[in-house]
Symmetry: C2
Subunit: 336 residues, 2 copies
DNA sequence: TTGTATGCGTTATCAA
DNA sequence: TTGATAACGCATACAA
């Protein structure tokens, strides 16, 4: 059926052990022998059985991507598995890990049992690392698993994070990104800049802080800044944008994310304001989707590819830092 | 470290074989014994080692989702891994297969070697089935693997498909969907309906055919129908829409897909035409994305969830049909 | 109905 | 430097 190391050994006139040593690049096998064995391996297209290796003690070259499922069910589909962010992240992680010879398996975490599932896989050596991304993780569970000696990476953790030893965290430069965005608007000579903030999670608070700092640096007083609640929700964001433009008379809006920015763009259109002439709109957390619709937001981008690359390197312990920050950059579009 | 069937056997005063029989629901184990063993299993939270089972002859409860990589690099990102269609499909497949206790592993197919990888996994019992989706598959390779006795499902294959015995095909009701769409426009009293067609792949040809048939049924002559090439590309589609509206004076457009429809909507706006009053626009192949932007296309929907559900059932051979067609339905929005 | 023995394909240990 | 041999954790044919 399928050629095994046994066969290879026979054909190369060596023992299974030697074949194994060649496969695993052990140092104690002389070059001629290695050549001979490799020749037979190539000739017959032999590929070692991954499952057997794992059973025999090796770790599987597979990384679990653990996504927290969103059960809130508020009809806002920009969450959970279908979120374009997660989707791009999955795609990039698959690509990046493949470059190191690793596979990605996607696990959706929704119940307590799922954490046991993960731990089980670690114990069985089915996976050699876990990358966590999403909102509502139980950090204690993650820490507990990590403390048994397994590598975990958490992307954009909330500040509640107490990192166990084997846990690495990847942060996005939210505050600085927001600061850059507002700075950009100020340079464009917008004078009255409002902010549509997200909800209470860390990223939203950091972006708000960045906005405030940039405005303060420009001489504005923090207490008087026009900030409205958008909650990363397109309906709330739309109304927030209307309030900012009508009640606060802003001439520019820094939105907590791109969904919010798109909603603000609609609001501007409905109020007969031209973008960017009458009102400048700045997004955040670039989502590639809108380009394809011919909508080119000026926004803050933190490369998903970069995050994926770092995540893979971190979980494989190539990257040793426990706290890694991904840089934000302005992506110039047509809305500001 | 981890409890094994050996331990369970000892604790339950039976042999490993009996534990195995209980786990695998063999009939020849009396209820009291089963209860006793199950009790110990529950108590210690024993989970059989999946890899060991596979090595011992069982098939892994895992389905490979094989996605053809798009190397065309024409800058149109609505293809390959990042396509929202694939992304939703992945999400739905994960959900649906989980319901049957199966996992999904995603494989991106770009080179010849990838087919060998798939075959290798089948031979090692790492996967028990393959679901193929994308454009440029080498059906001969798929058939060759299937002929060795493995289950394969191809979603929306091109007509070049010669199905081997273990290959099942899932088709979308493209022609009927297009027919319904045009019928819908006719009922809405649009009189001059044009079509922006896709490229030369089967789905595009079928949609064109559905459009033609519906128009013929309404008394139009096929040769005189206003059809322009859009190629599923937003730039081409935009220009096609302009031609239809300016040169052909259409009052409604049936677009080959939703990307095309969105481009047509932009074109209408740029020509100062109101949608749907001055011109009706009908999409096809519903992509959920646009709702979140406040754009509500009237379009043709073929449920991705339904496709995923059927794909899982087909690959597990619960669904026995070799050719399965997924129904299309009109999704009413604001553009027609 | 149950237990024993063997095999799955690999790695690791120990001798040679 | 190499080769036997014993794990790894489970399923199964066969015997009892």
């Amino acid at each position: 059926m399928k050629i095994t190391s046994e066969e290879i050994a026979r054909l190369a006139n060596v023992s299974r052990s030697t074949v194994s040593r060649v496969i695993n690049n052990y140092p104690n096998v002389p070059e001629p022998t290695r050549q001979k064995v490799m020749g037979v391996i190539e000739k017959y297209g032999y590929k070692p059985n991954a499952f057997a290796r794992v059973l025999a003690g090796k770790s599987n070259m597979e990384i679990a991507l653990c996504i927290s499922n969103d059960n809130s069910g508020d009809g806002n589909r920009w969450k959970g598995m279908e979120s374009p962010y997660f989707m791009r992240l999955i795609a990039e992680l698959i690509t990046q890990s493949k470059a190191y010879g690793y596979m990605i398996s996607v696990l959706v975490i929704s119940t307590e049992a799922d954490y046991e599932e993960i731990e089980n896989r670690f114990l069985n050596r089915e996976i050699c690392g876990g990358v966590f991304v999403g909102f509502e993780f139980q950090m204690e569970r993650i820490n507990a698993i990590a403390e048994k000696g397994f590598n975990m990476v958490v992307i954009d953790p909330d500040d509640s994070l107490k990192q166990a030893d084997n846990v690495k965290a990847i942060y996005s430069e939210n505050e600085r990104g927001a600061f850059l965005a507002v700075e950009y608007l100020l340079k464009k000579k917008y004078a009255r800049i409002g902010h549509i903030r997200g909800d209470n999670r860390l990223s939203a608070r950091e972006r708000l802080e960045g906005y405030c700092k940039a405005m303060e640096a420009a001489g504005y007083r923090r207490e008087e800044l026009p900030v409205e609640y958008g909650g990363f929700n397109r309906e709330y964001a739309y109304r927030a944008a209307v309030r900012l433009m009508q009640e606060h008379q802003v001439d520019a809006i820094f939105a907590a994310d791109d969904i919010t920015a798109i909603a603000a763009t609609r609001a501007a259109a409905d109020l007969n304001k031209r973008v960017p002439e009458d009102v400048g709109i700045m997004g955040c957390d670039y989502v590639s989707l809108y380009d394809d619709l011919g909508i080119h937001l000026t926004t803050v981008e933190i490369s998903v590819r970069e995050i994926a690359k770092i995540a893979v390197r971190a979980v494989l312990d190539i990257e040793k830092e426990k706290q890694i920050v991904c840089r934000a950059a302005i992506r110039v579009g047509l809305t500001a």
